[in-house]
């Protein structure tokens, strides 16, 4: 546990230490120190995961907070593992990325807040005191806010940042209310004491769970609380969006899992609710991802989709628990927990690749890209691996967790209860639809960005790939993705203990129940290795046998030989048929200038798709809010005396009210 606190301290100080050095070394100092801090924190987590008992340490903090306990159980250790590995890699990557931004005025604060974000996430997953948990939660939100507005000279970046901040603060209100309700009942701020309160009173537990789910779900990006996500991620620098999407939104998932642990056996209604919300989130996320042309926005919508998939796993697990089907629970929970790790691996990989593309082309609009595989081969291959993983193709990691979740859903079908069956059928078909839509989306992205010919100057002018300091962390992520896909049985073996933490059953039973998935994992492992071997052998064979039989020629244009690059299929046209099928779900904003006269000089077409929730719910609400608030405009006189007067009136009112009640 000492190592852990040393690590946190190093992380908190690393940014300030970096400030002491001159421009050249700043980022390197921060990277080295932050990576070292992460390693220190990783040591106890690996201890716990490799089988030792849960670690914990209690401090007598002060009168207000009472006893403060930091503990690392299997669940915390797993999240520490995810946070530290992903942060370490993105910190190394940041080194290369920030080279281009050393002149920026925000660089110093960026270097302070980045390790602070990592440290606050590490504290959130170990803190067992609800009040201090909220403090760390706030530090996490605020430090990430400053990271988002790194490029604060741009108006849209600032707007996205403020929107993020507002969403986070609305969400934290729900968490505060949930925690307050529990601590009033139990008379303590400690999570351990919440346990008994929650388990004895079902309706109370339900209300608290719903509140906490809204709070944590906003952080995680469940629909309909997802709106901040597709704006904050594109605004932030790539390594920050990688950490935010790969790790930070998982803190919401962590919170939800903690709530499941606190409630003991979740009630049936809650399980239904979580499953439905998750299916809707994943469908909504992938649908909007297909419609986007902004690479990072598209990836952000995919985060919503994947959070939904994690939620489906949790929902299957909760259904299994509520209807006492232990195998379904084990499969659902382990799928969800493994998907947390898997999603952070491939999403970070994809965001970092997007960062490479942005650095080289200075654009995030995929419509103007093309043909990058020829000049950026490393980035292209890594992006391809990332997209195959996110589409859940064997033999990569995404497949393993989705397989576990499917198996969990199939098992919940054994529950002989009509509503369960209907919901689960919905979930299964939803998950299948999400999978195929992800194929559509990533074939679009990869095809348009990396293949074909450059669609504009921006991509035609790229001459080289990014440096090794940026591609090596990505390479490590790709290898991790492949390893989990090829050796799922070992991963599952560890995940089992984490699930045990969420869903305690006696160990003999756990061993018995986990035999089924373990067998399947072994089969999948053999399958994966055979598949890789087969493909490699055939590709090599094909290469040697067809040497010299190839004739190079231009692409077949149906006899038309003056094909130019603008004639290629674009992202909008690729997604067109699918989007037109689901017309009512989108709000389209066209920007068209039609060709005029006999010799048209200029014409353009641009299609932007707006989130329906934003267009029809959030924006009208904001308008209403603005209308209401402008009525109070006259109060804001700019006169300090009158402000003091308001303060006095308010204080008097409070005193009178409390006397009256009192």
């Amino acid at each position: 546990m000492n190592n852990y606190f040393i690590g946190i301290l190093i992380l908190l100080l690393s940014g300030f230490a970096a400030g002491l050095f001159n421009r050249k070394f700043k980022t390197i100092v921060m990277s080295v120190l932050a990576a070292a801090g992460s390693i220190f924190c990783l040591i106890p987590a690996i201890d716990v995961l490799s089988g030792s008992r849960a670690l914990s340490r209690t401090f007598e903090y002060n009168q207000v907070f009472g006893q403060v306990t930091f503990s690392i159980d299997h669940l915390s250790a797993f999240f520490i593992l995810v946070i530290t590995i992903m942060s370490m890699l993105s910190v190394i990557y940041a080194n290369g990325y920030l080279k281009n931004y050393l002149e920026s005025k925000n660089i110093n604060s960026h270097l302070v807040f980045f390790p602070m974000l990592i440290a606050s996430m590490l504290l959130v997953v170990t803190c067992q005191n609800s009040l201090l948990f909220l403090v760390f939660w706030e530090i996490m939100s605020i430090s990430s806010f400053f990271l988002v507005i790194f490029d604060s000279s741009k108006k849209e970046v600032l707007q996205a940042g403020v929107k993020y901040l507002i969403f986070m603060h609305i969400s934290v209100i729900f968490i505060i209310i949930a925690f307050a309700l529990m601590s009033i009942k139990s008379g303590s701020f400690d999570f351990a004491s919440f346990n008994s309160v929650m388990q004895n009173n079902t309706s109370f537990a339900n209300i608290v769970f719903i509140l906490a789910f809204i709070g944590f779900g906003t952080k995680a990006g469940f629909v309909p609380f997802h709106n901040w996500l597709p704006e904050a991620h594109p605004a932030a620098p790539s390594h920050v969006s990688a950490v935010m999407s790969g790790v930070m939104i998982k803190m919401g998932i962590y919170g939800i899992i903690r709530m499941i642990i606190l409630t003991g056996t979740p009630s049936k209604m809650i399980a239904f609710g979580v499953l439905l919300a998750a299916v809707i989130s994943s469908l909504y996320g992938v649908l909007y991802a297909i419609s986007q042309h902004d690479l990072k926005k598209l990836l952000a919508y995919h985060s919503i989709e994947n959070i939904g998939i994690i939620g489906i796993g949790l929902g299957a697990g909760m259904l299994g628990q509520a209807y006492s089907n232990p195998l379904a629970s084990l499969l659902g929970y382990s799928g969800a927990i493994l998907h947390v790790l898997n999603h952070s691996i491939f999403k970070e990989l994809l965001f970092l690749a997007a960062g490479n593309i942005y650095l080289k082309t200075r654009t995030k609009d995929i419509e103007v890209l093309g043909g990058l595989i020829k000049v950026m081969p490393a980035t292209a291959v890594l992006f391809l691996i990332g997209s195959a993983a996110i589409c859940a193709f064997p033999p990569l990691n995404g497949f393993i967790s989705e397989l576990l979740i499917y198996l969990g859903l199939f098992r919940t079908l054994e529950i002989n209860h009509l509503p369960v069956m209907l919901v689960v059928f919905f979930a299964i078909s939803g998950l299948a639809l999400v999978g195929t839509m992800a194929i559509l989306c990533f074939s679009k992205v990869f095809g348009v960005v990396f293949l074909g010919m450059p669609r504009s100057e921006k991509s035609a002018n790229v001459t080289s790939d990014c440096g090794l300091s940026m591609t090596i962390p990505m390479g490590i992520l790709a290898v991790l993705a492949l390893l989990i896909g090829v050796y799922p049985q070992f991963v599952f073996f560890d995940i089992k203990h984490i699930v045990y933490c969420v869903f305690p059953m006696d160990l003999v039973n756990l061993m018995q129940v986990s035999m089924v998935p373990l067998n399947i994992m072994q089969i999948v492992a053999c399958f994966a290795i055979l598949f890789i071997a087969f493909v490699t052998v055939i590709v090599l064979l094909k290469y040697y046998l067809t040497k010299g039989k190839k004739v190079m020629h231009i692409t077949w244009g149906c006899g038309y030989n003056r094909v130019n690059t603008r004639m290629q299929y674009t992202a909008s046209s690729y997604a067109g048929p699918f989007l037109s099928m689901l017309k009512p779900l989108f709000k389209k904003i066209f920007d068209i200038e039609k060709p005029k006269n006999l010799f048209p000089s200029s014409a353009h077409f641009h299609l932007e798709i707006e989130d329906i929730e934003e267009a029809y719910i959030i924006n009208p609400l904001l308008k209403l809010d603005e209308k209401f608030l402008t009525k109070f405009e006259s109060l804001q006189s700019g006169n300090i005396q009158s402000y003091l007067k308001y303060g006095l009136v308010f204080l008097l009112a409070v005193i009178i009210v409390s006397l009256l009640i009192g």
Binding site: G371, I373, K374, L384, A388, C391, A392, F393, P394, E402, L403, L407, F410, L413, N416, L418, M421, S429, G430, L431, A432, L433, G435, T436, M437, I439, L440, F442, S443, K444, F446, G447, F450, L451, G452, I520, F527, V535, I538, V539, K542, T546, K549, K550, V551, M552, H553, T555, G557, C558, M567, Q568, Y569, S573, Y574, A575, G576, P577, F578, M581
Partner: protein, 306 residues
């Protein structure tokens, strides 16, 4: 065991050619022609493999490896399906997921290889293919999941139990399941009325237009992979029709008969109707989803209604 495996493998590798040949023969019959031999697709394959091939300068390595992935994905997906002898090589719960996602990998590689040429026609084909296959999958999963509930077997073998296990419900489910799988076969196999393999106009194609730039070995591999996929889906249909506990030789015969019958059916459909207009293809494929819902309600009726 090994003999069974070999028989399955040989049938999996060669029957697809004959099925394609049979479809063409059927079409020739309805058109009043004599038609080419049923082995013609096999001759074509051999000829294509021997040929040199033209590759577009725009393409990258993706274009080169995609055909291999296409073949590998159908062969490996085939490991999980009960084939000619009624045995699957690998039997495990969740086989439907591995099957579908492995096929998905092959499809993904094919889509991006089409995008690799930078041709607008191929991009169009890829876009349509991705779009249509996206709506096939949910219905397929619903079907298999409901069959699993009906029979209580968590693998593809549940298809065998449908008719025998649950009386009138079983027979009804089997009928709808055959229709669903047949539509899936038409969609995934790129046949009329979803797609027309014989059209000469690039604008109206789906699958063929994605392969415009493939020639020689690449083209051979892609079309072979596609016909193997058709055989795999026919195998699933065969599971529904053939009784489970019959001697192996009889099973193989029945299997070949079913495959032949399906080929004739595809050929007949192709001769009898034209390709649906592109905007209406969705409606045709959505028949699958609606029938899958019917299957689910039948299963519910059986499980909860008695």
């Amino acid at each position: 065991m090994i003999i069974k495996l070999l028989v399955n493998l040989i049938i999996l590798l060669f029957v697809p050619f004959i099925m394609t040949g049979l479809i063409n023969k059927t079409k020739a019959f309805w058109a009043g022609r004599k038609g080419a031999s049923v082995f013609q697709p096999l001759y074509d394959f051999v000829k294509l493999v021997k040929k040199d091939f033209v590759v577009s300068k725009t393409t990258s390595a993706v274009f080169n490896i995609a055909p291999v992935f296409a073949v590998a994905s159908v062969l490996f997906a085939g490991l999980f399906v009960p084939l000619a002898t009624g045995n699957a090589v690998i039997i495990t719960p969740g086989d439907v997921v591995i099957f579908a996602y492995t096929l998905g990998l092959g499809k993904f590689m094919m889509l991006i290889s089409a995008m690799d040429t930078g041709s607008s026609f191929e991009g169009m084909g890829a876009s349509r293919e991705a779009c249509f296959s996206a709506i096939v999958e949910p219905a397929f999963f619903m079907l298999i999941a409901s069959v699993m509930v009906l029979t209580g077997i968590p693998t593809f073998y549940s298809l065998y139990g449908v008719v025998s296990s649950s009386g009138i419900y079983g027979i009804l489910v089997a009928v709808f399941a055959v229709i669903i799988l047949f539509i899936m076969l038409l969609t995934e196999g790129a046949r009329v009325p979803v797609d027309d393999p014989d059209t000469h106009l690039e604008l109206t194609m789906i699958h063929e237009v994605m392969l415009l730039d493939n020639s020689g070995l690449d083209l051979a591999l892609f079309s072979w992979a596609n016909s193997i996929k058709v055989l795999l889906i026919s195998s699933l249909i065969a599971c529904l029709i053939i009784p489970f506990n019959i001697p192996v030789v009889l099973h193989i015969l029945c299997y070949l008969l079913v495959a032949g019958f399906i080929a004739v059916a595809v050929g007949t459909v192709e001769s009898g109707m034209a390709r649906i207009r592109m905007p209406h293809v969705f409606e045709f494929i959505f028949i699958m989803s609606s029938l899958a819902l019917v299957v689910i309600s039948l299963v519910m009726a059986k499980v909860f209604g008695g």
